[in-house]
Amino acid sequence: MTVWSTYGLSDLLLFSPQTYYRLFELANRDAWPLQAFMLPMGLALLFVLVRRPAWQGRFAAAVLAASWLWVAWGYHWRRYAAINWAAPWFAAGFALEALFLIWAGIFRNRLLREPISPALCRTSVVLYGFALLLYPFVNPLLGHGWAQVELFGIAPDPTVMATLGILLTSNRKRPWILMIIPVFWCAVSGATLWAMAAPNALIPPFAAILTVLFLTVSGKR
């Protein structure tokens, strides 16, 4: 690995910010009209999270797994791989996470929301709601235009942060296996944004750290 030890973060940034943000525009164009389906699904999941019907865990797993699969193919494989030789690995990782979610959430029903503590529940809903409803405003607020919004189920960052929100209160014992890829992605995305001097660079890592800290101190074992 001596080759990699000589590279700094900026050496591994292979593209310009313009090219990076244009990816979201192209991915949104590819996905249309999937956005019209994903937003209601995301809102329905938010509603279900609060009301906690018996089928909530399987519904959450299905929505999240579908989102991870789409991001793996529609974003990483189809778009990001054209400018980043690491993106096929990201696509594989996202597909793997979708399989984990299907296994844990649908087959084993371990994504049921548990009211472990009010603070954890609030954080879970806030993080999920932020990823679904507020994060899409970040790029337009930074001057990148509405065509380049990052949406839950289409772009990786909001999808990953929403998943972390769900995992915060899941009834799965030791949800760490489900968190490895989301936390890793938050680090990758944060580093990419940091190398581009993007003002929102710390948001994905902050979401990951927040989730890990809450899970650790909540006494969830």
């Binding site: 000589t6 050496d11 292979l14 310009s16 090219t19 244009r22 192209l26 054209a82 980043n84």
Partner: protein, 311 residues
């Protein structure tokens, strides 16, 4: 060993000034280059003349399959060729840059006239030959003019392959590259032990490390030098443009900071060519303007350094 004394001799500057003299007479007032007056330097191992300003593709040409961005890159290449440019440099590390260059070359009908410089870079694989074939396909060219070992990755395996390809006529020149000061000791060792045609290093007015040993060694060994990252990935020129261009820059025919910074690089007698990367047509025209007119002599170079260091 590098001889003691000045890093380069007055006669080198006189030779450069003479070469630039005729071109200066024809220099357009816009600061943009015209094909007929672009300065060239000989490749020491062959005597073939290369324009002193080339075109890098790191980051700027990695635009994927975005049609609008590809078209923009082709426009940059068109302006580059129109101004007399020839050398385009890329690497398998640069994402889709090779595909984008290939698109531009096909669109502009420049596959036969470009001086194609690429690299072999194998951190994930070992078959350098297969990678070179794939790179050639992506460029859409018959053969590479220059093939370099990128950042010395697996150079022990790749250099024999590249020399073999050179002997077979599959590449015309062989070189090695580094950037931002990586592995300079090993780089020097490879330069001493192998008959390279080219080396590629980072060199600019604020990063002059290679002046100490590598550039003199390249001259001693008869190796052409490509200077990469002339604007430090844009940060140097962004910084420079916050300050006034000195009035005396006109004495060396610079009308903007890009030309000031590039002329500093190409006025070093060991440097054959600098390869600024850009995604803007106006910038490539400015850059090519540095290949025309007068070049700074040793006194002027010291003045340029002093000015930049006091900013």
């Amino acid at each position: 060993m590098t001889p003691p004394g000045p890093k380069y001799a007055r006669r080198d500057f006189l030779r450069l000034m003479a070469a630039a003299g005729a071109a200066a007479l024809l220099r357009p007032l816009t600061g943009a280059a015209q094909p007929h007056d672009v300065m060239t330097r000989p490749i020491p191992s062959s005597g073939e003349a290369l324009p002193v300003i080339g075109l890098g593709s790191w980051i700027t040409f990695n635009v994927g399959d975005d049609p609008a961005a590809r078209q923009n890159c082709a426009a940059v290449m068109e302006a580059f060729f129109a101004a007399g440019g020839a050398v385009i440099d890329s690497s398998p590390m640069y994402g889709s840059s090779m595909d984008v260059i290939g698109y531009g070359l096909a669109k502009l009908g420049r596959r036969e006239t470009v001086f194609a410089a690429d690299k072999v870079w194998t951190p994930f694989m070992t078959d350098g030959g297969a990678q070179i074939d794939e790179s050639r396909r992506r460029w859409g060219i018959r053969r590479f003019d220059l093939m370099q070992v990128h950042n010395l990755v697996d150079w022990e395996d790749h250099l024999p392959l590249l020399f073999e390809k050179k002997a077979d006529g599959e590449v015309r020149y062989v070189g090695i590259t580094t950037s931002e000061g990586r592995r300079h000791s090993e780089f020097e060792e490879v330069m001493r032990r192998h008959p390279l045609d080219f080396i590629q290093v980072s060199y600019n007015i604020r990063n002059r490390t290679v002046e100490e040993r590598i550039l003199p060694l390249a001259r001693d060994r008869g190796m052409a030098v490509i200077a990469n990252r002339p604007f430090q990935q844009g940060s140097l020129i962004d910084w420079a443009e916050r300050h006034p261009l000195p009035d005396w820059a006109a004495e060396i025919d610079c009308v903007n900071w890009a030309q000031f910074l590039l002329k500093f690089i190409i006025s070093h007698p060991a440097v054959t060519c600098a390869i600024p990367a850009t995604s803007r047509v106006d910038h490539v025209r400015e850059n090519m303007g540095a290949a025309t007119g007068d070049l700074p002599d040793a006194i002027m170079r010291r003045r340029m350094i002093a000015y930049v260091e006091q900013l």
